[in-house]
Symmetry: C2
């Protein structure tokens, strides 16, 4: 695996089929699934590692974001990544940036409403990675459902010649969606946190049994959030990320909570036929908690 | 010359050095200068022709914008352009666009203040052309000075792997800057319109003689605008496009006027040593007025 610091060197390595897995580091099995699919579908696999200050509204959240470069590089190498793109702040922002990519509508509710500036930062840095690396495919997790809707729509809107590939959420054995933030949960908060995925699964079960009313579906989640503070529980159109009151088109049911000082998000994808995508569960303890790395 | 309708076909033709000359059609000697420089510096010359509805605030202005495809294609072929990229509205906007590229600061004064939404439209469509065609160099005229400042800054901000090349303004024999809008001037308005460039040249002369005070420089232009209605006359920092009160850094002196129902813009570039770039003048009548095309 080559460690590359500049966009120009990334482009110079491009193959006939180049896949990109963007990360903020602190790699877990969710990222490894993206890399594994990227490996199957492309001659060259690039994974980027850049913690983007612009997408953190709160500087304390940016500072607290876990960083372990050697661990991440080792995991990427083991995942058969060809190129780790780890740009410096100067490579990403050679001058003070004044340009932003703004996506209307899609970014207004849910995460957009609760994290001002977040999506503008994500949209801008994703545009930079796609424009500067020029991959043929880029891999994103369904766990960030609203982000995935946004990135998918940016591609035709900005004529970016890339295919966005969506990959299922990976969960710990009890159902909690993998997130680098999970390592910051106290034991007590960790026990409570499982209610988030349990609520979403219960709602998906309700949908499977015939329920299509948005409020009823959302209430099923809220009922399971004991000990957590819910920021939102929203049934949303998957193409527009706009809240809907009835499950009458492809949708996701998303929620954000705060538990023990840690903010967590999760979602399930719901179809009008009552089926759902709940992601996959690990059988074993996640590498997030491993000592070896 | 090949006429190409899709971004994908454009990219498939890319050479080791590909240059792009974006146009809104109705080609004149200003465009031909861009194409000529692009030809000298690149193996493959692409010129795009797309009248972007998003950058016209006023639908009537969009409708009135002159279009002559066969004439333009003939001029491009004669200029040794390899590829004319003429996308359909559907190729440019396969879905209703919700994504915009927004450049802060640079776009606030002058054209930005007088044409709401204009720069957002330009920034977004230029991003699409640069992202979708992936040229190594792109050529823009100094006549749209504020636009040039904006595009130049978008490149590092969006990590677009392209060099922006700035080319001098081309003028009719009496000094009026070439613009496809010139053909809409009545005889009387055409006689008055020359005052715009004369005012800018008089101000550049004043700078050459030692003046550095912004207000004095701007007044010199305003004094020459008899019969025209001035929207603005502004001395601006060339890197930030922000108005400045003293010529103490690389700058442009820009003005917009309305004369006989036609909106015209022009500028001269000014240096702190008193020198200026006023562009070049044609000896003969512009092809804008030719019958042959």
């Amino acid at each position: 695996m080559r460690i590359v610091k500049t966009f120009a060197e990334c482009r110079s390595l491009a193959s006939d089929s180049t896949g990109l897995v963007p990360t903020l580091g602190f790699v877990h099995e969710g990222h490894l699934d993206l890399m594994s699919r990227c490996r199957r579908e492309n001659d060259l696999v690039i994974s980027s590692l850049f913690v983007n200050p612009l997408q953190f509204g709160d500087p304390a959240d940016f500072d607290a974001y876990p960083r372990k470069f050697d661990r991440d590089a080792g995991l990427m190498e083991a995942a058969d990544v060809d190129v780790l793109f780890a740009p410096s702040l100067e490579e990403m922002y050679p001058v003070e940036p004044v340009t932003a990519v703004v996506v209307k509508g899609i970014t207004e509710s849910m995460e957009g409403a609760h994290r001002p500036g977040h999506f503008e930062g994500v949209a801008t840095v994703v545009t930079k990675l796609l424009a500067g690396i020029q991959p043929d495919r880029a891999y994103f997790g369904k766990k960030d459902a609203q982000q995935l809707t946004m990135v998918t729509r940016m591609v035709p809107d900005l004529s970016l010649p890339v295919e966005i590939v969506a990959c299922p959420t990976v969960r710990e054995a009890d159902g909690l969606a993998l997130s680098s933030r999970n390592v910051r949960l106290s034991d007590q908060a960790r026990r409570l946190a499982v209610g988030l995925s349990e609520g979403l699964f219960a709602a998906a079960d309700l949908v499977a049994s015939g329920e299509r009313d948005g409020a009823a579906i959302e209430r099923t989640v809220t009922a399971q959030l004991a000990g957590m503070s819910a920021e939102y529980v929203t049934l949303a159109d998957r193409a527009s990320a706009e809240p809907i009151v009835q499950l009458d088109r492809p949708a996701f049911l998303a929620a954000a909570v705060e538990v023990g000082g840690v903010r967590l998000i999760d979602n399930v994808w719901l179809e009008t036929d009552g089926s759902s995508d709940r992601g996959r569960r690990l059988d074993e303890t996640s590498i997030l908690y491993g000592e070896a790395h």
